[in-house]
Symmetry: C3
Subunit: 266 residues, 3 copies
């Protein structure tokens, strides 16, 4: 029984997510469907890329990740299906796969990109503005029902990649950026365990600086400090975070996506 | 494996939607359940009617659409199950089916209305205020598990219909109303492709007027104009929309449901 | 096919709920998963306890209720699985089960508590801050796939219980507290049908007082009064509520969780 994950910027009130599930189950009645998020900020491809990257590896092999954050719907941007290691992606070729693709390439796993150009696998009537329902949901369902990836269109090898900000090495640490703020107000940077490496063996010697706040030492988890304390820690998918114990660090610090986020080793 | 869609005004925080799924799976363990929306504005039957109308046709044949927007719960309003063409409805007889019923009648498809009055198909204890859990979820699950519609109650033939506003023909076009604003702030009118007909062969000759704004020409999709531009286009289910490319038209224009929405052909 | 319910304070935008479903379906591909709520107020264990208590009894026997409201994640608090009558709980041992456990004990149903201390049933890498994904989701999936509860860890018999406020008998009725406000703004107290008992045979003799408002008599349902009227009634799971017909009582009265809520019998 294939698993499909679903991520969009459609919100939850208009029925557009539910209708995609109707389309999927018409073709693949047994598919399990997991909603990753439908609250991606409108048109924010980078946010979708981050969530796809950190979620997909936890899914069963050959799950199908259907992502529709698609400001270019109905224009020349390619509709696409891809194999990324042991996971499939279906959605627009607009950079959503950037981070997951990098991960898969680092692991030397196979990749395969297909331009979806065979309307016989789509709904009979394709609207200009809802390819999620009319193209991507039916294609994801075909994959789930056993149609081979290669049958769905024409191969290509130059998928769009986002130019995402990278942290820079400084004299005493790393200078990165705020890339995500979660539901709790935890502030995630693009500085990762891979950057910090051996520095993590002396967590007490690291100092995090973000929006004027200075946090000395890294903890392993929230409960090591009292409620209301700012802490820095490694999040569950390897990014360096600034958090407020039992509170909202984003509100406390007034942080925005893109703000500088620095760590210094002393 | 039957598909059930679920739409309510219950919101997502109180567990009331999840509990209905528990009730359904007790009776129909294999049912697939798609959440259409649980963010219908409280008691807004017209909004539920619109979303049901544009979503149901995309579902597998004989899917069951369980809709609970039910300000009259526990009063004399009839609990109801209905066949509407190749789809089922379960919920209060309060007009929720109005638009889908019109569509099905235009297509000369069969309709059948059942007053749910057989408590043996409900939960043993029926509360006064949560028939979604106690009557409608068990009845939808019975249908999913194979109980014939006719067994669930007594036939009737006068379901409640909402008197929804209709667009009017003007000298040079149509005058309608704003009937929905979606998550992106796109503004939907009740003027549809069926009204515009041959005018759509010269999209450049149409002008849309809403809340003081004037939009010349219709585009096919957002990406034909630069971000921040107001555009008019036909939405994915056939309604005439006013949108802001990569932005929120509702916020920009301060539009409300019920505002005038006009189109002129020159 | 086992049913798993899922409740967290994770919100819906970050992908963390969806990733737990990916983990579950890797181990138990056929599990049905019902989202109870992911909008529990951050770290609010009492709110999760209330929703679990009133929802679990409606689920199929031996459903698995996976609840992750876990401010103590990564500290010494016990990870736990439990049998509570004919339902299972998986989550932190932090009091989430308090109300459901009391109910099960009143019914003299069996209970069994297991300290989850066998990492062979978890994901291979356990983060410090996301045990929902790394410990609780895999354990719930093992239960769903047939692993016996006892195999998952070591029995214990002193689960954490919250000290929740209890209503007090007064000369002429009961004095309780506001314990929940739902999506509609309905105000729930901790005064229950069990407290009121025979007083409910003369609903017209009861007066509810909350935040300066006085509501004379109890109705059975909203539609007995005109829109905009304050009413008191017994909610669908037995708590005494104050509501505004077709409106929001919480906004009208400015009520907060913990406010006094009194009922007097005259």
């Amino acid at each position: 029984m294939a698993v499909i994950s679903l991520m969009t910027d459609f919100g939850l009130k208009d029925g557009n997510v539910g209708v995609m599930k109707g389309v999927i189950w018409k073709i693949a009645p047994q598919a399990q469907i997991s909603d990753l998020s439908h609250l991606i900020s409108p048109q924010n491809i980078a946010e979708a890329a981050l969530i796809l990257y950190r979620s997909a590896p936890y899914f069963p092999d050959f799950s199908i990740h259907l992502v529709v954050v698609d400001p270019g719907v109905g224009t020349a941007r390619r509709p696409m299906a891809a194999r990324l290691g042991n996971q499939y992606y279906v959605g627009p070729d607009n950079g959503t796969i950037t981070l997951l693709l990098e991960l898969v390439e680092q692991q030397n796993l196979p990749t395969h990109f297909i331009h979806l150009n065979k309307p016989e696998y789509w709904l009979p009537n394709v609207s200009y503005v809802f390819h999620g329902r009319d193209i991507f949901a039916p294609v994801a369902a075909r994959l789930a029902a056993g149609t081979p990836l290669e049958a769905l269109g024409t191969p290509f090898d130059d998928p769009v990649r986002l130019a995402l900000p990278q942290p820079e090495r400084t004299a005493a640490g790393w200078r990165g950026q705020v890339i995500h703020v979660d539901h709790f107000g935890n502030i995630a940077s693009n500085i990762r365990v891979e950057h910090l490496g051996e520095m993590l063996q002396h967590k007490e010697r690291l100092t995090v600086r973000v929006r004027g706040a200075e946090i000395h030492g890294l903890v392993n988890t929230f409960g090591e400090r009292t409620p209301g304390t700012l802490v820095a820690l490694i999040g569950s998918t390897g990014n360096l975070l600034a958090c407020l114990v039992n509170g909202n660090a984003q509100t406390r610090l007034g942080v925005q996506i893109g703000d500088a986020f620095e760590v210094v080793y002393e």
